[in-house]
Symmetry: C2
Subunit: 157 residues, 2 copies
DNA sequence: ACACTTGAGTTGCGAATGCAACGATGAGAG
DNA sequence: CTCTCATCGTTGCATTCGCAACTCAAGTGT
């Protein structure tokens, strides 16, 4: 029971800190698992595919630099390279070199890509609603939004 | 088009819902990445190793059924099987068959395992504090704890 | 005793991931 | 102009993951 913790950045966590941290990590793991399960059960591609297709679908012109995709979905570049190649192989995306920047590659979503995303959406949305949204009221959702936003803010230099 | 969907739970999300969902997922991805980076930069093993060692270290007797580990760290059984084999190969864990249940296997943490966990802790804790805990006050941490707890509650029918 | 179902853990194999090294282009300094 | 340096994307290789099929032990019913 000793509260030695008076010095703020001691090596030791309060129970609440521990619980909040593991809770956050496990909750998200649980949610991802649930969504992936739902997609798989419906014979649909895995989540990262959806993420990328969504980013492209809502991007102006339906295309983004691989670079930018990487930044948005938080996957490493090499990951995006290969994912985009797989997507292209399935005809969901076209990879077109950037004329202004010789080393850039645009991923451009195809009609088939938009179609697939639309087809995945109901499954995705149902899973998220069932396991996440349905458990909270409007205010709590807003609270979560505000709290989570703080984590990635001012990630800085 | 038509909102045949019965009522409020239409297929469409409010901005806050979208933002809260992606915020949660991205925040956690961001945090995991940060921790993994920190571990790697210090030449330490990846996060799942820590998770398992931590669960074992704090478990009474320093051992758990593979089953139970799987449940706690939210990794699939086959994953735990192989992870525990790798840990055993590194001398961090001993896998000992359960006498009462012929098909059970206990993972039992070794002194070396406890030592490694202790060595990983400062790096782990620093990363989490820097990227997560330091951004919130006591009340917010408690709030996050309460909110995240709700997600995994009453999952079972 | 018998088959039947469930549960724990393992394994083969193909796919995805992580890491580091690499080639190529653009940007800046002198 | 040329040299260096940072950025973008790719690739080889090893590790890990995902899935389905499998073994063996427990539990259940007859």
């Amino acid at each position: 029971m000793k509260k030695k913790t008076g010095g703020k950045s001691a090596n030791v966590w309060t129970d609440t800190e521990t619980s909040a941290w593991t809770g956050l990590v496990r909750a998200q793991q649980y949610l991802i698992n649930a969504v992936e399960d739902a997609l798989r059960e419906n014979g649909l591609p895995p989540l990262p595919w959806y993420d990328v297709l969504w980013e492209l679908d809502r991007a102006p012109g339906g295309s983004l630099r691989l670079n930018e995709i990487s930044r948005r979905v938080l996957l490493d570049k090499y990951n995006i390279t290969r994912l985009s190649q797989r997507l292209e192989q399935e005809g969901l995306v076209r990879r077109v070199p950037c004329t202004q920047d010789g080393r850039g590659i645009f991923a451009h979503i195809t009609p088939g890509g938009r179609r697939l995303r639309k087809k995945m959406w109901p499954v995705y949305e149902r899973a998220v609603r069932e396991h996440f949204l349905s458990k909270f009221g409007k205010e709590d959702i807003a609270r979560i939004d505000r709290l989570m936003r703080r984590i990635r803010d001012e990630s800085g230099p």
